[in-house]
């Protein structure tokens, strides 16, 4: 088990290092000058621009040699300092992201976990019930082939505009201020539901299909036939098949994380939901490279943490990793 975690940790550290380096490159490789960009919008005197330019270049730390900038970036990173936003100047990037992150967790965590759980359950049911299979299978294929933002657009149009039962933008009603009351919580939940539903549905389709096909494979495996020949009850065989089929589904979750993050990003854009995805779009449109940098840093850390959580789950679910009998592909 130590070997298993040691190896995983090494990969995560390397990935983190590489990803942060790429992240650092973002503003530096850009053809435009972000400081110039910000100042040009302010329409100041030529002399004032000169002074301001010098000031902001120093403020953003762009006046030292490139290796020093890289080093400073790492040092600042460990101090939790992500620089200052250009688009929402002078707010620090870290503070802006801190405001957005709760919405992401609130949206993504339930959507991922619930869809995975429900998809596995329904997929396993579908594999053994003909009539359910006839519903789940086509539905699953349609859902998993749907682009996240399009389902979002459709739901927001049908439920938000045509039927008018759900709001289509924001995280809570614009008439309210964040405070602890039932009206506010109700408003938050109402705004949360449609983005959650579109993420949930698309992911659900993929998990259900995956589980159904896996169970069918497992029921054809030698051990299933052997158990059957021994006269074991169908229920027991299916239980074993399910436990074996859950493992690839867990690996699948790790493989899918990148796609899920991108999906959440566009879903937030469709619903103007104030998470990281919405921030990134605003940052791209305003060429705020420091904000982009911060958002990606957060995504990298989030994805790495999620991967690590899945690794731990794998050890819990699969006893083979615990005893050091590393299976192929681990």
């Amino acid at each position: 088990m130590r070997r298993y975690f040691g190896r995983k940790l090494l990969i995560y550290i390397l990935t983190f290092f590489l990803a942060v380096s790429i992240d650092w490159l973002i503003p530096r490789f850009m053809p435009g000058d972000p400081v110039q960009n910000m100042l040009s919008r302010a329409a100041l005197h030529a002399e004032a621009i000169e002074v301001m330019h010098g000031y902001y270049t120093r403020a953003f730390g762009l006046d030292v040699p490139i290796w020093r900038q890289y080093l400073n970036f790492w040092i600042a990173l460990f101090h939790g300092d992500l620089g200052t936003s250009v688009y929402m100047f002078p707010q620090p990037v870290a503070a802006i992201i801190k405001r957005a992150v709760p919405y992401d967790i609130f949206l993504l965590l339930p959507a991922i976990l619930l869809s995975w759980w429900a998809g596995n359950k329904f997929g396993a049911f579908a594999a053994r019930t003909k009539w359910l299979d006839n519903i789940i299978s086509p539905l699953g294929y349609i859902l998993t082939a749907t682009p996240y933002m399009w389902l979002g657009i459709l739901l927001s149009w049908v439920f938000g505009i045509v039927l008018g039962v759900f709001p289509v933008a924001g995280a809570y009603s614009f008439a309210l201020r964040p405070h602890l009351s039932w009206t506010f919580i109700g408003s938050v939940l109402k705004h949360w539901f449609l983005p959650f539903a579109s993420l949930f549905l698309v992911m659900f389709g993929g998990w259900a299909i995956g589980m159904r096909n896996m169970i069918i494979y497992e029921l054809e495996a030698d051990y299933s036939h052997y158990l059957e020949a021994l006269g074991a009850p169908r229920r027991l065989i299916r239980k074993y098949a399910f436990r074996n089929a859950v493992l690839p589904q867990l690996t699948g979750l790790a493989l899918q994380l990148g796609v899920i993050v991108a999906g959440a990003l566009v879903t937030e854009v469709v619903f103007s939901y104030p998470g990281i995805g919405y921030l990134i779009l605003a940052a791209i449109q305003n060429q705020d490279y420091f904000l982009i940098q911060g958002c990606f840093l957060f995504i990298i850390i989030g994805v790495l943490l999620a991967n690590f959580a899945i690794d731990i789950a794998y050890v819990i679910v699969d006893p083979r990793t615990r005893t050091g009998m590393l299976g192929e592909g681990a």
């Binding site: 390397l14 590489l18 990803a19 994380l257």
Partner: protein, 286 residues
């Protein structure tokens, strides 16, 4: 019922398989539409043809017009072409890289395998959007080709993993040992002994990569990181949302591109399962 000859057995089961039939029909239908489409419409995708602005579908404008009076059907047809291009180039490239890395890692084993495995895992975890942002900033004019190549270069990890595992299990078979004993070169063993035995698997990998590339492209186009000089289905959705098609109820602007992507990708997935049933006798429905 006459017994089919062994050679045609695969084809026989392929033609009998409903999933395969439905999936392929839908994909072919859209493919034909892509090629026939330009004959059916004489409008250019971005020309302002309708002075009245947004209008619902009519006999003149089959899919209606956008807020600016552009013909949605013309955009749709050109978007389909972009979608298939991204699928073929992006999915193809992803499959080729996956095959090369998977074969090498699985056949060589040892330190080569370790290194390639690490590379695969790193590419898998890095948010590809970050890299794309840098590329997007560099290439202010981007075409479908650039987008496809980018998608191909970032979408291969799962394919490499799966192919590696398959190669691993084939490597220790008797016929591979025999080939190795006879002094065959590693590359030749891979391509004449191992690859033919997992041909069906490779075809299915390509189909999944094809569908995946289309979905990724739609996502990138939607946040404005897609092609800058072309029409695509994702870009249509992007424009529709950007210009308030939702609030104005211009549903004919954003419904067709989504339906097309969903139908094509869904049909590809169904085809994939159908092929699996054809290739794998255990899964055939009797």
């Amino acid at each position: 019922m006459t017994k089919p000859k062994k050679k045609n057995e695969m084809l026989y089961f392929a033609l009998r398989n409903n999933k395969l039939r439905v999936g392929l029909t839908v994909v072919l239908l859209f493919l034909v539409l892509t090629f026939v489409g330009p004959i059916l419409t004489h409008y250019k995708p971005y020309d302002y043809v309708n002075p009245n602005g947004a209008q619902p579908p009519s006999s003149e404008y089959w899919f209606g017009t956008t807020m600016f009076g552009q013909d949605v059907f013309a955009q749709f047809i050109h978007g389909l072409k972009a979608t298939f291009l991204v699928g073929v180039i992006g999915g193809g490239l992803g499959t080729v890289i996956g095959i090369l890395i998977g074969f090498t890692a699985g056949y060589r084993g040892g330190i080569v395998d370790e290194m390639l495995n690490m590379l695969t895992n790193i590419v898998l975890v890095i948010p590809t959007l970050a890299i794309l942002l840098i590329i997007a900033a560099y290439l202010t004019v981007r075409g479908i080709l650039v987008e496809s190549i980018f998608i191909g270069c970032t979408a291969w990890p799962w394919a490499a993993r799966a192919i590696r595992a398959q190669t691993f299990s084939l490597r220790s078979r008797d016929f591979v040992d025999l080939a190795r004993l006879s002094g065959m070169k590693a590359r030749k063993i891979i391509f004449t002994e191992i690859a033919p035995n997992m041909m069906s698997y490779l075809v299915m990998t390509f189909i999944l990569q094809f569908g995946g590339a289309i979905l990724i492209a739609a996502t990138l186009d939607f946040i404005g990181l897609g092609p800058t000089n072309a029409v695509s289905l994702g870009l249509m959705m992007n424009n529709a949302v950007l210009w308030g098609a939702l609030l104005l109820g211009i549903w004919w602007w954003f419904v067709p591109p989504g339906v097309a992507i969903m139908a094509i990708v869904g049909a590809l997935y169904v085809t994939n399962v159908g092929l699996d049933e054809v290739f794998n006798p255990k899964l055939r429905e009797m």
